[in-house]
């Protein structure tokens, strides 16, 4: 663990440069990956990475030695060739895009594996050089390799910064951008070119199999945190950068564990390490993000359902009192229990809650509404009855069906909508009395329509 800490804080001179390269790579992949995902080109990026493998092998065969520039050029050439093959298959045969991607991806990759085995078996074949391209080995990066990554990173980030509005316009509504005169085909080619270049420079570090993940996962994670594209780019870049750095540091560590009393050393290749870190960020985002996250969503539902339950208690107390004509009569627990299909435990919980908010109080014989409770109950019952009346008179729904509908809707009606509802019903003469405003008094019936259905009995 102390090793990891030393690495990640750049304390180790040997790996400083490597971590810098990995961070820049992650940053670039996160940023261009956002546009990749928005433009639905993510899987094409995956095909590109896989198709690059035979290119790398061919470059080795041509040059005869390990040379990053040669590898990158070979990767680029074969990667673009693969993408063109996909395009050709899609436009000239009946095969759809997903199958075309699968065909090209697997066939090129298979061919690349075969080439790499041939090279390995060759007497002068430098096996470590090629195998590391499958899953990546950031530690093999040299200073000049990181320089290449840095240059590409600057180019990509500059392009995204300068062409932000052009690229976002292209991704959102290509046709509209075309009618404005933007050269959408050229922009698409440029975007694809940036994706290609970013993918290819990532291959030595992350490997062909998982490079696409570094394009996709930071962008997907960033989507949970914001509704604005510019912020999404920043967050995706940051997550990419963190994944690159932490993943690379992790892959530089050696783990020891014992199997059958033998000590085994293991090091995780860079690609999987980076991707697992990115995935962790994604899972955390999915759970924790304040608006779109799962936990936030569950919390909102919980708050909503408790609010609904509180409303039901008040309304039940009111309706029982309405039947008897006296709101100060205590209502027994059993009477409440019979009114709706709630469990005794749930009912008791809601009564306690309402009591703690001084909306009801416990009296001999049961419970009664306080003044504030009565006011709130009047408000709730009014909304409920308004909606019921509307459903019966305007939507021609049978009176005994509307209670449940109103139950579900009344909690989400905005004040504006309620006012319009009341207005509509009043104009049609379906509201008793002409009083305006909801005065909390025994004359509350003035503004509350009578119920279209009998009160009491179990509700679904």
């Amino acid at each position: 663990m102390s090793d990891f800490w030393r690495l990640i804080t750049l304390g180790d001179p040997n790996t400083r440069v490597v971590l810098l390269g990995a961070s820049l790579l992650g940053l670039t992949a996160g940023v261009i990956g956002t546009f990749t995902v928005l433009r639905r080109r993510a899987l094409v990026g995956d095909a590109l990475a896989h198709a690059a493998l035979p290119g790398i092998c061919t470059a080795y065969l041509v040059v005869g030695d390990k040379s990053l520039i040669a590898f990158l050029i070979g990767a680029l050439v074969f990667g673009i060739l693969g993408v063109l093959c996909i395009s050709f298959i899609r436009s000239h045969t009946r095969i759809k895009e997903d199958a075309a991607i699968g065909i090209v991806l697997s066939s090129f990759f298979g061919f690349g594996i075969v080439l790499s085995r041939i090279i390995q078996n060759h007497p002068t074949g430098n096996r470590a050089g090629l195998d590391t391209f499958i899953f990546g080995k950031a530690a093999a990066m040299l200073r000049q390799d990181v320089l290449i990554i840095a240059i590409i990173a600057v180019v990509v980030l500059a392009a995204v910064f300068l062409l932000f509005k052009e690229l976002s316009s292209l991704c959102f509504d290509r046709d509209f951008a075309a009618t404005q005169g933007w050269p959408v085909f050229a922009l698409d080619v440029l975007l694809m070119g940036l994706i290609c270049v970013c993918t290819v420079i990532g291959l030595p570090a992350v490997g062909v199999v998982l490079m696409a993940a570094l394009l996709i996962i930071p962008a997907a994670a960033a989507r949970f945190w914001t509704e604005r594209l510019s912020i999404m780019l920043v967050i995706a870049g940051s997550i990419g950068m963190a994944s690159g750095a932490i993943g690379t540091a992790l892959s530089a560590l050696h783990f020891e564990y014992t199997i059958e009393s033998r000590i085994v050393h293991m090091a995780v290749p860079t690609g999987p390490a980076v991707v697992l870190v990115a995935t962790t960020c994604f899972l955390l985002s999915m759970l924790l993000a304040p608006q779109r996250g799962i936990i936030a969503d569950l919390w909102r539902r919980y708050r909503f359902s408790t609010r609904i339950a509180a409303h039901h208690v008040l309304r039940a107390l009111y309706e029982i009192g309405e039947v008897g004509g006296d709101f100060s009569n205590p209502v027994s627990f059993d009477a409440l229990l019979r009114l709706r299909s709630w469990s005794a435990a749930a009912l008791q919980r809601e009564l306690d809650r309402a009591a703690s908010r001084t909306l009801i109080r416990a009296v001999p014989g049961g419970f009664a509404l306080t003044d504030s409770g009565l006011a709130e109950a009047v408000r709730l019952v009014r909304i409920h009855r308004l909606w019921e009346t509307y459903l019966v008179s305007e939507a021609s729904i049978a009176p005994d069906h509307v209670d449940r509908d109103a139950d579900e809707i009344e909690h989400v009606l905005s004040p504006d909508l309620i006012a319009r509802l009341e207005d509509t019903l009043r104009r049609q003469g379906r509201l008793p009395g002409a009083a305006g405003g909801a005065a909390a008094s025994a004359n509350a019936e003035c503004v509350i329509p009578t119920s279209p259905h009998p009160i009491g009995g179990p509700q679904p």
Binding site: L38, L163, F164, K165, S169, D173, D175, G181, R228
Partner: protein, 304 residues
């Protein structure tokens, strides 16, 4: 010069002939088409109405999708300053016609002019409202961001929209009654609200002619009213609107000029004279199965 069905179908698409200007006489067997253009010489039945500038001039345009012709030999002259509806059955090529005029789909033959210029020259005069379905509404932008995109055309490369662009965009939103939704993410808007945002974006383009693809489809009554009021105010300001419209009932109420289209132009002209039972029957009557089969044969490259 016109491609024959017996010829190689590939030539059908590849051809892009330059045709003489539209000074040729119209065949009198066509249903009556009222011309308001001063380009034609006086060899017609009805006297010309005083010349209004031609907003759109489509001459002998054929458009093919994947080698299948969807628009055959379309001739169209649309006057400026009108609200023009394009109606026809499904698959009639209405959206294709719009896209052909806008340069979004290639034309196999013919020539198109907007206010006398090619579409690329006339870009700054053109506004576009595409169908709602063409866009990913989950995209991370707000309503105001979308409307600001309407101003991108006048910004040029690399420049960012500034305060003036955002204020102008806000004004457009206000005109569509969407000011309070400016910062709302677009996937939180209803269908009608999304349509209004699209219209606001087109307004922000400050065009002379607006092309709209089904602007009233799937919107609530309040939005429909708002859109119609907007179109009428555009007309009062001298703008032209060409809208693909799906609801035949409302064509006479909303539009003063109509194009009846079913793979070819059945009739085009002022609503009063052209929107007749006979023309509607010819457009929607489904009597063109031969044409459709021929088109399919062209696509397959084999005799039908």
């Amino acid at each position: 010069m016109k491609p024959d069905l017996d010829d190689d179908p590939g030539q059908f698409v590849a051809q892009s002939s330059t045709l003489p200007s539209s000074a040729e006489q119209r065949p009198t067997s066509r249903p009556s088409v009222e011309q308001s253009s001063a380009v034609l010489n006086g060899q017609r039945e009805s006297p010309p109405i005083p010349a209004a500038p031609l907003a759109v001039d489509v001459h002998d345009v054929t458009v093919a999708y994947h080698r299948k012709p969807v628009l055959w030999d379309v001739d169209l002259e649309l006057p400026a300053g009108r609200l023009i509806a394009v109606v026809g059955p499904n698959g009639a090529g209405k959206s294709t016609l719009l896209k052909a005029i806008l340069g979004l789909v290639p034309i196999a033959s013919g020539r198109i002019r907007v206010f006398g210029r090619t579409t690329s020259e006339a870009r700054s005069m053109i506004g576009y409202v595409p169908q709602r379905e063409t866009v990913d509404w989950d995209f991370p932008v707000s309503a105001l961001d979308v409307v600001v995109m309407g101003r991108y055309g006048r910004l040029g490369w690399f420049r960012r929209p500034g305060r003036r662009d955002r204020d102008a965009a806000m004004e457009c939103l206000k005109q569509l009654g969407m000011a309070e939704f400016a910062d709302r993410q677009i996937n939180q808007l209803s269908g009608g609200q999304q349509q209004r945002v699209f219209l606001a974006r087109a307004l922000a383009q400050e065009a002379a002619i607006y092309f709209m693809d089904e602007p009233l489809a799937g919107v609530d009554a309040a939005t429909e009213q708002a859109i119609i009021e907007l179109l009428r105010s555009l007309r009062s300001a001298g703008k032209t609107v060409v809208a693909v419209h799906h609801d035949l009932q409302t064509v006479p109420d909303y539009f003063d000029h109509v194009v009846l289209l079913n793979m070819r132009v059945v009739a085009a002209g002022p609503t009063g004279s052209v929107f007749t039972q006979a023309n509607l029957q010819a457009t929607y009557g489904g009597r063109l199965t031969l044409l459709d089969e021929a088109a399919e044969a062209v696509r397959r490259g084999r005799p039908a």
